[in-house]
């Protein structure tokens, strides 16, 4: 199964990665070189083999849902790119109208 330029653009969009045209083209070759090596797996008979779902022997035990949150050594606004009133600020969604512009 070979990856095309359209595939790379599609998965880059899914992964929210902006790619230049040159980089997208080189990634087609790079990914195909890697994926060629993966094709050997298709020849392995895995009939009746359950895929690994988790590697731990004891499942995933949950801790008691009690107690205060883990105390933080510094406030969120010490590392957040942009905050106001305790909320993370992000750019306006392009599909939303700007209320200031319409008011």
């Amino acid at each position: 199964m070979a990856v095309t330029l359209d595939d790379v653009r599609h998965i880059a969009a899914l992964a929210r990665l902006g790619l230049s045209e040159d980089r997208a083209a080189s990634l087609v070759a790079e990914l195909n070189t890697i994926l060629e090596h993966m094709d050997v797996l298709s020849k392995i008979d895995t009939t009746g083999i359950e895929p690994v779902a988790g590697i731990g022997a004891a499942g995933l035990p949950l801790r008691p849902d009690v107690g205060p949150p883990i105390p933080l050594a510094r406030e969120r606004d010490a590392f957040a790119p942009s905050m106001r009133d305790g909320f993370f600020l992000v750019p306006r969604l392009s599909t939303h109208e700007d209320p200031e512009a319409t008011s």
Binding site: M1, V3, D7, V8, H10, I11, A12, L14, A15, R16, L17, G18, L19, L27, E30, L31, T33, I34, L35, H37, M38, V40, L41, S42, I44, T46, I49, E50, P51, V52, A53, G54, I55, G56, A57, A58, L60, P61, L62, R63, P64, I70, P71, L72, A73, R74, E75, R76, A78, F79, A80, P81, S82, F88, V90, P91, R92, L93, S94
Partner: protein, 488 residues
């Protein structure tokens, strides 16, 4: 009694701790000896580039706290021992950037559980070490902050992704350092740098505060200058943690007690798939000499087979990127790290991520997104997880047959030259003997077993789940038997 800075660096972690506890050594002097050694070997950006962040003032404050505790009669099992931590393990006192521009300068608001355990044991965290960006690499050349160099041969790589931690131990700055493993990122650099590297059983050490790469494979590991240093380090950080639901409630043995263990009656498997015809004959020779030594110590050596080994790289490089593509979605410029302006919210995501991630991380995110995407999931991801089950079954079968441990080369080659591997898949093959243990979740340890052309060669013991004690017993015995020969 006093000890010079040089001789402090020669003490094992346990010896240094005992001298600190007795009041013979001030913890501040141990910290200064470590920084002086870092100066002497050129550990910073313009030299070996193995340390990314350090804070001498903070290290002195930590040391003063240890001294105060000691004066009140309390000394933890690592009292006054300087430790270096890989840059993807969260620390409140130093940045945690994962070797990436996207987290450059980020300081975590909490300590990883492993770091908390170290602090509670009296260790002094002195620096964060260089690494491949988000632990994706086998040479530390993928760091956004420049490649680290092997202190034994500075034109060569230290291995990766925990290359900075391995190099810090190899160059004598510290006796213990933390790394992390997803496919061999502790054992491979340990082998390249001539030190001991331990990858514990999946679940043995809490992953809380280890920045996630591939959650079903990741595990914090320990570097030691000796097996004893590594045993002490692992014992300090092992155990159940309510903050990591994948950490296990298995009892933690005192690994240092394994130093007295006998190998009489221990069956050590020699898996033929790890000794292929094209293996470097000099590495094969070192491994065979180690197996002879183990036999002379009372172990029975048995030829065994793990028939799906040759599929491990393919499985690993589907499963790990798949998990990474999900885990790294959190780096989007909203809550922490880099933010780049773009057209609206989506433009901000894309600008931030394409600016912040380096080429290998980008490649793996795309590979992972592809193998999980509609139409390809069954052919790649589901298939890989099925073959992973077969690889895990190979280990279970061989351990069920009465074999206690496996012994293999850690890597197919010694440390290679910087820039020697430009093809990504060729680089991936560096993990060929190590990624199987991660896929199966079993523990493994690499220790030096000799040199080829002056470069260290590592031998690896692999044990069954949670049997680190047996693994340490064999490593202690082999290290003792090889003596100085392990570094010749």
């Amino acid at each position: 009694m006093t000890a010079s800075a040089g001789s402090l660096n020669e003490l094992s972690a346990a010896e240094l701790r005992d001298r600190v506890a007795k009041g013979d050594v001030n913890p501040r002097r141990a910290v200064d000896a470590a920084f002086d050694r870092a100066d002497a070997v050129g550990a910073r950006k313009d030299g070996l580039n193995i340390l990314l962040y350090e804070d001498r003032g903070d290290a002195h404050r930590q040391a003063a706290g240890i001294a105060t505790q000691r004066d009140s009669g309390e000394s933890g099992p690592l009292a006054g021992v300087p430790v270096i931590v890989k840059d993807n393990i969260a620390t409140t006192t130093l940045p945690t950037s994962c070797g990436s521009r996207i987290l450059e300068g980020y300081v975590s608001p909490f300590d990883a559980t492993a770091v908390r355990c170290l602090r509670e044991a009296g260790a002094v965290i002195i620096a964060k070490s260089n690494m491949d960006e988000f632990a994706m690499g086998s040479s530390t050349e993928n760091s956004a902050f420049g490649p680290a160099k092997n202190p034994l041969a500075p034109t060569r790589v230290p291995g990766g992704s925990s290359g900075g931690s391995a190099a810090a131990v190899a160059s004598g700055i510290v006796r213990i350092a933390l790394g992390s493993e997803t496919g061999g990122s502790v054992r491979q650099p340990a082998a390249f740098c001539g030190v001991v590297g331990v990858k514990p059983t999946y679940g043995r050490v809490s992953r809380y505060g280890l920045v996630a790469f591939a959650s079903s494979l990741d595990q914090i590991g320990v570097f030691g200058r000796s097996v004893d240093d590594a045993a002490l380090g692992l014992h300090t950080i092992a155990g159940l943690d309510p903050l990591d639901s994948t950490s296990a409630a298995e009892p933690v043995a005192r690994y240092r007690d394994a130093a007295r263990g006998s190998l009489t009656g221990v069956v050590i498997g020699r898996p033929r798939e790890y000794f292929p015809d094209d293996l470097d004959p000099r590495i094969r020779e070192k491994c065979d000499a180690s197996l002879d030594a183990l036999k002379s110590l009372g172990a029975e050596i048995r030829d065994v087979s793990l028939p799906h080994t040759d599929l491990a790289i393919q499985v690993y490089y589907i499963v790990a990127p798949a998990e990474a593509s999900s885990n790294l979605a959190r780096f989007d410029g909203v809550r922490y790290g880099l933010r780049m302006d773009g057209n609206g919210l989506r433009g901000m995501y894309e600008a931030t991520r394409s600016t912040g991630f380096g080429p290998e991380v980008t490649r793996r995110i795309l590979l992972g997104t592809y193998v999980l995407s509609a139409g390809y999931y069954d052919a790649y991801y589901r298939k890989a997880q099925q073959v992973r089950a077969l690889i895990a079954r190979d280990f279970a079968d061989v351990f069920r047959s009465g074999v206690h441990l496996l012994f293999t080369p850690t890597t197919p080659t010694a440390a290679f030259e910087l820039g020697a591997k430009s093809d990504p898949y060729e680089m991936y093959l560096s993990d060929i003997f190590t990624c199987t243990a991660n896929l199966a979740g079993v523990p493994a340890i690499s220790l030096p077993i000799g040199r080829v052309d002056g470069l260290p060669v590592g031998g690896q013991f692999i044990a069954s789940h949670f049997d680190e004690r047996q693994m340490f017993a064999a490593a202690y015995a082999l290290e003792r038997r090889l003596g100085a020969g392990a570094h010749q």
